[in-house]
Symmetry: C2
Subunit: 394 residues, 2 copies
Amino acid sequence: MTSTLQPVQAHGCQGLVCRLPDESQRATMLDAAGALPQLAISHRVASDCELIANGAYSPLTGFMDQVGAQSVIDSMRLPTAAGEVVWALPVLLPVPDTFSVVEAGQSVALVDPDQRVIAVGELGQLFELDLHHYAQSVYQTTDGAHPGVAALMAAGNRFAAFELTALLNRPRRDLSTDRYFLDPAQTRAEIARRGWQTVVAFQTRNPIHRAHEYLIKCAMEPLDGVLIHPLVGETKPDDIPADVRMRCYEALVQGYFNPERVMLSAFPAAMHYAGPREAVHHMIARKNYGCTHMIIGRDHAGVGDYYGTYDAQVLVDTVADALGIVPLKFEHAVYSKHCAGMVSMKTAPVRKEDTVFLSGSAVRAMLANGQRPPAEFTRPEVADILIEWATISS
Amino acid sequence: MTSTLQPVQAHGCQGLVCRLPDESQRATMLDAAGALPQLAISHRVASDCELIANGAYSPLTGFMDQVGAQSVIDSMRLPTAAGEVVWALPVLLPVPDTFSVVEAGQSVALVDPDQRVIAVGELGQLFELDLHHYAQSVYQTTDGAHPGVAALMAAGNRFAAFELTALLNRPRRDLSTDRYFLDPAQTRAEIARRGWQTVVAFQTRNPIHRAHEYLIKCAMEPLDGVLIHPLVGETKPDDIPADVRMRCYEALVQGYFNPERVMLSAFPAAMHYAGPREAVHHMIARKNYGCTHMIIGRDHAGVGDYYGTYDAQVLVDTVADALGIVPLKFEHAVYSKHCAGMVSMKTAPVRKEDTVFLSGSAVRAMLANGQRPPAEFTRPEVADILIEWATISS
């Protein structure tokens, strides 16, 4: 990437959205919120409130109306006149049946399952969507076993636009990882403080083993730094908990990276498992967090075998110019005994008998049995954290 | 790099220059050349003839006139109205005193030290340059011990512009490496045949040890392929001969790379050791050969300690946008026992006692003694080729 003296522009070129009140504004608004109609939202929707309010979803300033939703579903663009702003996943506010009267312009408080007021703002028109068409276009499947489709269907088919005035409480988060929650304004400030002109984002919902450590280092070598940006919102029940993963990332960075070139921060989004569309969505968010590049591996944001292993890479390529963040597309990596190091089949000769590779289930079995996987597969410090979690929780 | 469906444009956007006649044209012209005045040229100048004729120096169609030379020396640009075409090193035809009558428009044959007619074309005006100013601007030194400055001074201060009509003989080359001499049209065709949309060039005048093997692989991982493009023209007397180096590169690619992602071709240019300016010059040439990216390490094209170790990287950054080929800037790499692999100090913790590093002189001493350096420093197959050469030649 050529050197850029200006920081990365927020997506949509309208500046970073900010709906985070200061402490006194917040106190006033929270007080007033008690008198507003309360609309119950899920933890997933609460995540979206935070990402709208902190600018991660710039240029969105709220939940989409029907025109916006349809535009995103059908053409992966926001409904501007020139159709130039890419947007991959609809960001919607489901309205429960219990919230019966919906008037456009009505001020409401969005309340999470723990009865906390997450945000206040103004509702727009109520609308419905063709959920099967939505699922097929965005998730490329209507299979109820797909976790993203399941979440979509479970939320119902009653939505309202919502202009978010202010985030009044952060969604629930595991307090042990609280210090890692940097908003886009904060990651941008830190990137500027470090003097980085190029920074690559690494998205993950898993611990980082040697394969991804290698890809991160490959990506970083010609750039100024990396933002390791694990997703810590709602995932699948069998995904490893966020706090365990953060300790793994910390141990890896401390033992095997140069901390001057690494930022570690949590991305408080939920997973949709929407594969290609979610790869684009992830790139938009990381651009808003200030990144110039992003690692896109194989089957990015995929689940099961719903998506071809290169589908996400192909899709991001079609919009990379419009997005303004460079996708760095990687192959799987593995340890090669012959090459005495991590390689990928793109760049080195890889013969099965020469490599050290384990399947996900084999690794989980070893960890549950208190056994470290080979050092060529995962760093011992990471293995030990996972073993402690696996043996305690089994 | 975002996907590009068109091949890389030739520098200066006027298409690839081609002054390579077909066999019958060549025969006719060679015959006619016998009647032309003969202007003696060095092997260095013969190299430049080839690079002008095969398009590596596009948009140049011959040797520069005084205005062109001055523009390049003073502002690193060709003298177009908009000053938009970057050019870093003057490409000049020294005219020996023995060639006494120089008429603008005169057709001449350029003849190398082996009495071979290299090229025919038309001379322009004779001119002189301020060689000290030239050396200071381009080489940042007037020290006669600098090999590039020495070559400049040795060629005298009498130049003529020259419009190159045709290359009639290739400059001398070691026949054992003849099959690697791909012209830009041929590298572009092979890149297109392989379907590569991104390709990174690697320039070297040395054998490739594990450090550079690692950087090449890092650079390749998110791209489609690499062009390993060793410079095989005139270098310093103590540089390893081109044929020995080509065998090293072959052994390395066969043993440790995926050949589907590697092209190996010789770059028939002479070295100037001009550091930063030569890094820019190298990038322009590799763009003409069809590359979208180029690896720029530390002290690129440097010699001794004339240049700061990052000077070339800083300079290429200032012109990268104008050049249209992306510099990938790398740190030194070294083997880390703790990380169990190649690392750089940018991306990993590097402590002296933890690394396997040898100085150039230590390596040469080991090779001359028939001793393989550690496998963490260089691949045994490469070491064995160098040992054979070192022990035979000592």
